[in-house]
């Protein structure tokens, strides 16, 4: 595996990921191991919050794949990120329906209040990161904002601020 120095605090996370992969019983000759890659990366991102090179190398080694195979998949899917995310990921839908219902204004307001741009770094306190995405399949609720798994519908810029404050209070 990559000889990058692994912080000891991450050891538990790597152990959890290793256990997950071990349960899949993947062998070197298993032609279907590529098919398992996306599900493993999902779990890895769940554990680590993002997929830095160390994690990608780890997955590659445990699944008998090349680092480039893993990197190619990570780079293809929007869902995967190689940068750390905040505790709360705010996803603003910019699909057609949300867009015409004013999603862009909602996004600008969130960016203004939090002081970060979409798809860049999380806020300094590590609480929030902001992303734009395309269509979550809830066009009837446009404009839609998701915070982690929770969906908010018919969001106005003012509501967006309230939502942010709610999560700030939770900390």
């Amino acid at each position: 595996m990559c000889k990058n120095s692994l912080s000891p605090a991450l050891a538990d996370k790597f152990a959890a990921l290793e256990a997950y992969i071990a349960d899949l019983n993947i062998t070197r000759d298993d032609a279907r191991r590529r098919g398992r890659l996306i599900q493993v990366l999902h779990r890895a991102q769940q554990i680590f919050g993002y997929l830095p090179r160390e994690v990608q190398c780890f997955v590659a080694e445990k699944m008998y794949l090349q680092e480039a195979d893993v990197s190619g998949v990570v780079s293809f899917y929007n869902y995967f990120t190689t940068k750390p995310k905040g505790k709360y990921c705010i996803n603003v839908c910019l699909g057609t329906a949300c867009y015409v219902k004013g999603a862009e204004k909602v996004l600008s307001e969130i960016e203004r209040v939090l002081g970060v741009k979409a798809d860049t770094n999380p806020t300094e306190d590590g609480l929030f990161s902001v992303s734009a995405l395309r269509c979550v399949g809830a066009c009837g609720l446009a404009p839609v904002v998701m915070v982690n798994e929770k969906v908010y519908g018919k969001v106005t810029p003012a509501m967006a601020v309230e939502i942010i404050n709610e999560y700030k209070q939770r900390g």
Partner: protein
């Protein structure tokens, strides 16, 4: 298998089911242009992603145009009627080409692939005079991190030949499709510099890239500067595989050795002495055969693997760090030559090694990386100063107006120019092992192989993996394996991991077929038959010599008598041997 009757451009044809439209058209000598398609990358692998759409044809009763390279004629296609050059197909192809070119730098005149570019050829054939589509372009900084391979992704057309050859043929996996949509690239993991990846610099990607997106890093300028520096003595060595490939660029019959003209041409360029890597190949055999015999006698640290090929060594150092102790400790012939030139030969001339410039002509990109390894330098004076590939040498000849057809034949200089036929076959898969076996036989039996026994035919041929049992002496049978192509090397190494006793000696070359198919050889442009010709050329060169055993080379004997002592001596170890490191970061 069912036979299917079809019609292409009005001509009836019967083909076995599963034949693609492209293959069927070629049976009728109907040319359909292709771009991403590459039939024989090596080891039975082709690149057929049907991604470029340059080969589209019209099929009656089908709504959409069909990509000929990826449309099989099935049992249900009885009576299929295909038109390859309708207005609609031609227009679609032109649009595809213009769209590709709209995101391709229009810098053909200064491109390393000028006149060797498949996109350029198609543009010329289509007579494209302007590009209708002006839009966004991908402009990505060049990656020259590796000393060997240059990547200029701005010129990439995303055919993915490089990725296929890297991951499927070589199983190196340095490249991947990266990102998506318009900005998708064929790149390294995380867009890392190539030097930091698993890349072995074998250059098979260079050989198949249709455009100038992947080329070799050229040191031709530095070589010209050295040749024109009166304070330097500039000597050149030529690898075995160069002599059977260089003629192709000057209208000689492909594969026919043009050794003496090559020497004449190099003299015309102004090299002070023209020497032969073959000399160092014989030297390698002296050391390696000695090592093989030692290891066979002791029974320890077997199997022994050849170590002439830097692409394969790079592969081992990255992918099999647990097996670093099994290759022979011998440096490659290129590096042995450099080490001897900068010590023995510089002393003979009475000059400072700093003023002796060693240039290598190699069929290989990985040799550039090898020459730059820090362990192959003394006080920052490299053993081999510059490496140019066969292709780059051809350009040098053309630039200087040297036509090998008209050049006078010439002989290699002494004392680093004499070589045996055993050295010639270093350039083809199986050759290094055969050369070693000839000398191992002598070392074990105290006498030479006679007559036809000198030919070890079991290890010859272009198959990816060859196995043989060779009786070296009564009661001493050696099981050997030969692999070419790194995917095949991986198979053999997996066997070694599981069953270390199965083979006692193994030869590996990184490129499918060996150095004759190296990453610096004149382009095959898909014509794999050229490899067969080059292979025959090298065996013909061997057979034509009276001297066919490395240990009978008089200049080598003299080198040991005057300077090295005997094979495996302390001095030989210091100058001619090396060790290996884990390259994975």
């Amino acid at each position: 298998m069912k036979q299917v009757n079809i019609t292409i451009n009005g001509v009836p044809l019967t083909v076995p089911e599963g034949t693609t439209i492209l293959e069927a058209a070629r049976m009728l000598n109907i040319n359909i242009p292709t771009l991403c398609y590459y039939e024989k990358l090596g080891c039975g692998v082709g690149n057929k992603p049907a991604s470029c759409r340059v080969c589209v044809v019209e099929v009656e009763r089908r709504r959409n145009l069909a990509p000929a390279c990826a449309t099989p004629i099935t049992a249900f296609d009885e009576g299929m009627v295909i038109h390859t050059n309708t207005q609609r197909a031609l227009k679609a192809r032109r649009t595809v080409l213009e769209l590709i070119m709209s995101d391709h730098p229009q810098t053909c005149l200064t491109c390393a692939k000028n006149q060797d570019c498949e996109l350029q050829t198609l543009a010329a054939e289509f007579g494209i005079s302007e590009i209708e589509y002006q839009g966004a372009t991908n402009r990505i900084p060049k990656d020259a991190s590796s000393n060997a391979i240059m990547r200029d992704l701005s010129k990439c057309i995303r055919c993915r030949r490089c990725e296929t050859v890297c991951s499927k043929v070589q199983t190196v996996g340095a490249l991947t499709g990266y990102g998506r949509g318009f900005s998708a690239k064929v790149a390294t993991a995380g867009m890392m510099p190539l030097a930091d990846t698993s890349c072995t610099f074998c250059g098979q990607c260079v050989n198949v890239c249709p455009t100038g997106a992947i080329t070799g890093i050229s040191y031709v300028k530095q070589v010209w500067a050295a040749l024109n520096d009166p304070s330097k003595t500039v000597i050149v060595q030529t690898a075995p595989a160069v002599r059977v490939a260089v003629g192709q660029e000057f209208g000689f019959e492909p594969g026919v050795p043009v050794t003496k003209r090559l020497v004449g041409g190099l003299r015309a360029l102004g090299f002070d002495k023209v020497f032969d890597t073959n000399f160092a190949a014989d030297l390698t055999i002296m050391e390696e055969a000695n090592e093989i015999v030692q290891r066979l006698k002791s029974g320890q640290n077997l199997p022994i693997l050849t170590s002439c090929c830097p692409g394969w060594i790079n592969f081992l150092e990255y992918q099999f760090p647990d097996l670093l102790n099994i290759p022979s400790s011998c440096k490659s012939p290129q590096q042995m030559f450099g080490a001897i030139a900068k010590s023995y030969y510089a002393a003979k001339l009475g000059i400072d090694p700093k003023d002796l410039v060693v240039v290598s002509v190699m069929p290989c990109q990985a040799k550039k990386y090898e020459a730059s390894r820090p362990e192959f330098a003394n006080d920052e004076v490299r053993d081999v100063d510059y490496v140019v590939t066969t292709r780059e040498l051809c350009r040098m000849f053309k630039e200087a107006g040297v036509n090998l057809q008209g050049i006078a034949e010439s002989e290699y200089d002494s004392p680093l120019g004499e070589s045996s036929g055993a050295a010639d076959i270093f350039g083809v898969t199986g050759g290094v092992l055969e050369a070693a076996l000839r000398t191992v036989y002598y070392l074990v039996n105290g006498k030479n192989l006679e007559g036809d026994a000198v030919n070890f035919r079991d290890v010859r041929g272009l198959e990816g993996v060859k196995e043989a049992s060779v009786t070296v002496a009564p009661g001493l049978t050696v099981n050997v394996a030969v692999a070419s192509g790194l995917g095949n090397a991986r198979k053999v190494l997996e066997i070694v991991r599981k069953d270390p006793g199965r083979f006692q000696a193994i030869e590996i070359m990184a490129c499918p077929g060996g150095c004759i198919n190296g990453g610096g050889q004149p382009y095959l442009h898909g014509n794999a038959d050229l490899l067969e010709s080059r292979m025959k050329g090298l065996y013909a060169e061997d057979e034509a010599k009276t001297l066919r055993l490395s240990h009978e080379n008089a200049d080598i004997k003299q080198l040991y008598a005057e300077f090295l002592g005997e094979p495996g001596s302390e001095k030989a170890h210091h100058l001619l041997h090396t060790c290996y490191h884990c390259r994975k970061k």
